[in-house]
């Protein structure tokens, strides 16, 4: 397996179903939103709205599909210089990767994601505008497994 981020022509599959959509190049995080109080959830919450003061039924019927904003600003960022343990699927040799916590203005929440390969901590700043895209997390003999990733807007 490798996570070079470079397309190998294999079939592309999301590394997890239902957390993001890459349809038509418009990559968005998918979650749910409470129709009663308006609170959005990522990852998706189908059980019950978790706002203790929500006036809705709070039995799950109030939670509807929600696609998140595509852009946000970097809240913080970090990288990993050492190979993490499984279940992270690491290429051999290990390739360091960068992670960003991004603040979504509309949703007023911070969402984590890897940053696209090639972007290091030296390229990022707190407050910088980033947008969502999709990238290859790892590959095996059958497919490339994709996940949501942040990338600088410019």
């Amino acid at each position: 397996m490798s996570t070079t981020g470079v397309s190998t022509g294999r079939e592309r599959r999301p590394a997890i179903q239902g957390w993001f959509t890459g349809a038509d190049g418009d990559v968005r995080l998918l979650g749910t939103r409470c129709a009663s109080c308006g609170t959005p959830y990522f990852p998706r919450n189908e059980l019950a709205c978790r706002n203790p003061r929500c006036a809705g039924p709070r039995d799950g019927s109030e939670l509807e599909e929600y696609a998140f904003s595509r852009r946000g600003r970097v809240w913080s960022y970090a990288d990993s210089r050492y190979k993490p343990p499984a279940p992270y699927v690491s290429p051999d040799p290990f390739v360091p990767y960068t992670v960003a916590a991004v603040e979504l203005e509309t949703e007023r929440m911070v969402v984590l994601g890897q940053v696209v390969p090639g972007v290091t901590v030296d390229d990022l700043e707190v407050g910088m505008e980033v947008e969502l895209t999709e990238g290859v997390l790892y590959t095996d003999d059958d497919a490339e497994y994709t996940v949501w990733m942040w990338r600088p807007v410019n």
């Binding site: 997890i16 210089r81 993490p84 343990p85 929440m109």
Partner: protein, 397 residues
């Protein structure tokens, strides 16, 4: 004396290290030391509270019974609990509730761990419905990544520098030099920290606490029992908080993919880490100005600075100045982590919050040799258990 006081009659630890032995051995040694310190025997214990470890097989999940068996089945009431890094404080809370309810007079609290080398990883097997498994799988979000995100945020918002972080390590390294239970008893220089390898930028190896083996135990009793036992002025625990975060939780925490949204409900006045000590101060009827010392959970050097503000030693953004002033160094106004903290211990998860209270106990007795805070009257131990657990324990002379 508050009606919520309980007495700390005994404190004991097995030294932290990487000993490579079974966790039960560390817990047993700590329990025996605490009982001897209290002048009591195992037969006197009516309630034993174990803090669980999830990385040592089934005996770890039922730690209370495991330690009770090792000490010799005695028919005592028993409990086992897990609350991530706050497990030890949760076990203290359980024992305290039993004592305050009048259900027992003498309780033994024990936590011990044998930790794996390197990064903590999720426990056992493919579990794609477990956020702790998923954060490794989908993000490679190790614990140091979360610590590094908090550290970078502190640099951007409050102007912390890498040398501030290093200065925390240097301070704690000096504090722990004479602590016989500390794993690392070696002076560390700014240069040492600067030259240590970057693990998760901006944090370097010496900014991040290690994982350790260790064991800690406390003998807790009712105030009446302490008096009957001839201890008229025992060290006391007047307050203990294990409150949850309040919705919306807007600070990223392990193992979160995202914070709660503040769209529908504004952020709470007190974020999680400051809500924990606040509830304990309210219960004890004291404030940060009454403290002589604090033991805070320095999973990273940067997190120690966050704690200064969360426990009210200074305003938000004031931690760097407080550190640079020397106030939190032994001999300063309010020494923080006189034990050496996690920087000198490494983390032995279920034992760590108990070890913090052991240190406060020895400090308040005036018996913390080589690291004594002068005229210590009150201390706080705080712990960010992560995963929504945490604790604050106030201990007074």
């Amino acid at each position: 004396m508050s009606t919520r006081d309980i007495a700390v009659l005994g404190a004991g630890m097995h030294p932290w290290g990487k000993w490579g032995r079974n966790f039960v051995e560390y817990g047993l040694a700590a329990a025996r030391t605490a009982l001897a310190d209290a002048g009591l025997t195992w037969q006197d214990v009516q309630y034993v509270a174990g803090a669980d470890t999830i990385r040592n097989g089934y005996p770890g999940f039922i730690a209370g019974a495991t330690f009770a068996q090792a000490l010799g089945w005695s028919g005592a009431q028993v409990s086992s609990c897990y609350a991530a890094c706050a497990s030890g404080a949760q076990a203290i809370a359980n024992a305290r509730a039993q004592i305050l309810a009048g259900l027992c007079d003498v309780a033994l609290v024990v936590g011990a761990d044998a930790a794996p080398k390197g990064f903590f990883k999720p426990v056992g097997g493919d579990r794609p419905d477990d956020p702790d498994w998923l954060r490794f799988r989908l993000l490679g979000a190790t614990n140091p990544i979360y610590f590094a995100l908090a550290a970078r945020r502190r640099m951007a918002v409050h102007g912390a520098t890498l040398d501030d972080f290093a200065a925390v390590k240097v301070k704690n390294g000096r504090h722990g030099l004479a602590n016989p239970n500390a794993r690392y008893r070696k002076e560390v220089t700014l240069e040492d920290v600067r030259e240590s390898a970057v693990v998760a930028d901006p944090l370097r190896l010496l900014d991040i606490c290690a994982t350790s083996d260790g064991g800690a135990a406390l003998v807790l009793t009712s105030m009446d029992f302490a008096k009957r036992h001839g201890i008229t002025k025992p060290v006391r625990i007047p307050a203990l908080s294990t409150v949850t975060p309040t919705f919306p939780k807007t600070v990223l925490d392990l193992p979160d993919f995202a914070t709660d949204s503040a769209m529908a409900v504004p952020e709470p006045d007190r974020p999680f880490r400051s809500a924990l000590p606040h509830a304990a101060y309210e219960e004890a009827g004291i404030g940060p100005e009454d403290l002589s010392l604090a033991e805070v959970y320095d999973l990273s050097t940067a997190l120690e600075l966050d704690w200064y503000e969360d426990i009210g030693l200074c305003e938000p953004g004031g931690a760097e100045d407080l550190l640079r002033s020397g106030a939190t160094t032994l001999g300063g106004r309010i020494p923080v982590n006189p034990s050496g903290g996690l920087a000198c211990f490494g983390e032995a998860i279920p034992a760590q919050a108990i070890a913090q209270v052991c240190e406060l106990t020895w400090q308040l007795r005036g018996r913390a040799e080589g690291r004594q805070v002068e005229n210590a009257r009150a201390g706080i131990a705080v712990n960010q258990g992560l995963f929504g657990h945490g604790s604050a324990v106030i201990v007074t002379a």
